[in-house]
Symmetry: C2
Subunit: 374 residues, 2 copies
């Protein structure tokens, strides 16, 4: 969520190479399948990770594949979970993720919500016994493709201080909403409830750079611009007390309401000795209940057009629709390839060697291969 | 939503007198009934306004009764609307407010959502053809009292610039969520999607005070601390791009999805020549679907206790639960009376004289009356 035009991403920089989407998809699926993940599940996980990379949200992209693999190898995530609707009542279902990979569980639960919403107009699918599910925005695409409004929320391990606090208590609990339009592209809102991704602070610390005020506090609870102090402390919720409350509400819905873990009970992704029991909620809502014959799409086109035509602030080219800059980045990365850092590539090459899946060459190499040989 | 202990409210100050809740309730009901509003509807409107005053959110309290009365007198709001469920499908209903007073329409729609959710677990009641509905938090109380999670959102006329914009486009579209607990008091989150209430800027302008940075922009879109320039310009959404997107999503749900007015189509409360056609959405969700025998309440008590026990930032006494400071204020105002400014009292005395309903004496006068006469 930025207002900036599509340019180099926050993790873009020197030494980055671009890789074709299809090549990375095959690589990710191959790694997961060789770790005993069924092909359909592997594809959801791979698509979810690459959805983030395409949209420039590198922190939730293929950079996470190694830790997913480590968790499978350590046995704290199941490769072949028995994901099932544990209970259902009216327009609400509880999906038991049986400790499977988050994107495989999440895609199934969003599907359940969509099936129920066809008959009930609205449906809620709560999920317990799941894991880190990557970018929330991945799931709402399935709803939008079928003309539904989709929403996905998840809780997450404590990384963030609540408003007025100094200790990590809240997750960066993400929320995504997708809304189809008529002639206009759909609206995709996808955001964490922190001011900024922790990944950006990690990068700043690696480069010895300061971070802007308001992103984080040090271990004593004092606002800091020192990236290392920030990493030792906690990130802050977006929007002060209001954003802190929204993050807390997401934890209550995903954790308390579903029967999953919540707040300080949630273990981190990096803790290879403990299951996570993450909770999610997926919502599907029909758009054709009150307005006939494409009227919803026409009204969406109107409000999106109004927003884009709203006068910009000084120095801003145009007011953007939520998700619009990420869609520009997606088009660019589909065309030019997904940029990956040398560190990420090295890690993926190593992982591939370990599970006997070759990491693909960068896109430039593809181009060279197409030239006639001398 | 503040983290401050309950103290004098933002509109509290010199010359304020305190009035008993029951006295103000009778006065408000009397005024509305004399303007032909049925007793039940009048009571919802009066309770909604006083809910705000009790909780220290004076901007949405009895200060709004005069403009509600003017709109009834001008015929742009109906005193006796035929509020009805226009359509329903599964767990979703569309309530047509028939241009009645917002709180009367809203209370009826929340009731509809609760009735449907009993059978379907979750229910959405969309509303069109309504009006300004006061504090969103008023409605979710009905859900919490019956053990449901309740949510209320509304769109509102443009007062706020979108992120990256300089023109008023978004309403301060409020959101409220109420969640019952076990032994702990329920959680009530009730917030506008602006950084601050426009009412606070009006007060600052009246007193010739500056406002903090980040609250508003001037008519050229430049951030300003000058209250008068801010009133001529626009308030800003909370949380930058993310809060701006959330406000926009609320307008899409309440306006675009329901068939109500949206964005620049929404007329202000003060425009006595035009109907508003405001849209709302009310959600009711059962808490007993996945957890048996009070387990949800016990888990709520645990997470609320965890939050309160989280270490506070320097200078903060304790981390508070969303809505907790407002609950303290409510207890204080119930005990001591609701403080009203001399200007508000003068306006209400005048309105009362016009419709032949006497405005009550302040609480101190009550106490004096109880003393034995000399």
């Amino acid at each position: 969520m930025t207002n900036a035009p599509a340019g180099p991403g926050p993790l873009d920089g020197e030494g980055f190479s671009r890789y074709q989407y299809g090549d990375l998809l095959r690589y990710c699926c191959g790694v997961l399948e060789n770790l005993d993940v069924p092909a359909d599940d592997a594809r959801h996980v791979a698509e979810c990770l690459l959805y983030s990379d395409l949209r420039g949200v590198d922190s939730h992209g293929v950079i996470r594949l190694p830790v997913y693999a480590r968790r499978l190898q350590a046995g704290v995530v199941k490769a072949r979970p028995a994901v099932a609707v544990e209970r259902s009542f009216g327009a609400v279902a509880l999906v038991n993720g049986d400790n499977g990979l988050g994107p495989a569980v999440g895609a199934r639960a969003m599907e359940t919500a969509l099936e129920m919403a066809a008959a009930s107009g609205i449906a809620f699918a709560g999920v317990r016994a799941s894991n880190h599910f990557g970018a929330a925005g991945y799931y709402v695409q399935a709803a939008v493709r079928r003309g539904y409004i989709g929403c996905a929320v998840s809780n997450a391990p404590p990384n963030m201080a609540p408003f007025g606090g100094r200790e990590r208590f809240l997750g960066t609990n993400p929320i995504a909403v997708g809304i189809p339009a008529g002639a206009e592209p759909p609206l995709y809102f996808d955001a964490s409830t922190s001011v900024t991704a922790r990944g950006k602070i990690i990068v700043a610390a690696q480069r010895g750079l300061d971070i802007p005020e308001g992103w984080a506090i040090d271990p004593q609870g004092v606002p800091t611009t020192n990236a290392r102090q920030a990493l030792a402390g906690a990130v802050l919720p977006f929007g002060g007390a209001k954003g802190s409350a929204i993050s807390f509400l997401i934890d209550i819905l995903c954790g308390v309401w579903t029967g999953a873990a919540f707040a300080l009970h949630l273990n981190t992704l990096e803790d290879l000795g403990s299951v996570q029991n993450v909770g999610h909620v997926f919502v599907a809502l029909r758009t054709d209940l009150f307005l006939a014959g494409g009227e919803f799409g026409r009204r969406m086109d109107e409000i999106l057009g109004m927003l884009k035509a709203s006068k910009p602030a000084p120095g801003v080219e145009r007011v953007v629709v939520p998700g619009e800059p990420e869609a520009w980045r997606e088009a660019e990365n589909q065309a030019l390839g997904i940029p990956l850092s040398p560190q990420t590539v090295a890690e993926l090459v190593g992982l591939g060697a370990e599970v006997r899946v070759e990491f693909p060459p960068p896109r430039a190499a593809h181009c060279e291969q197409k030239e006639p040989s001398a």
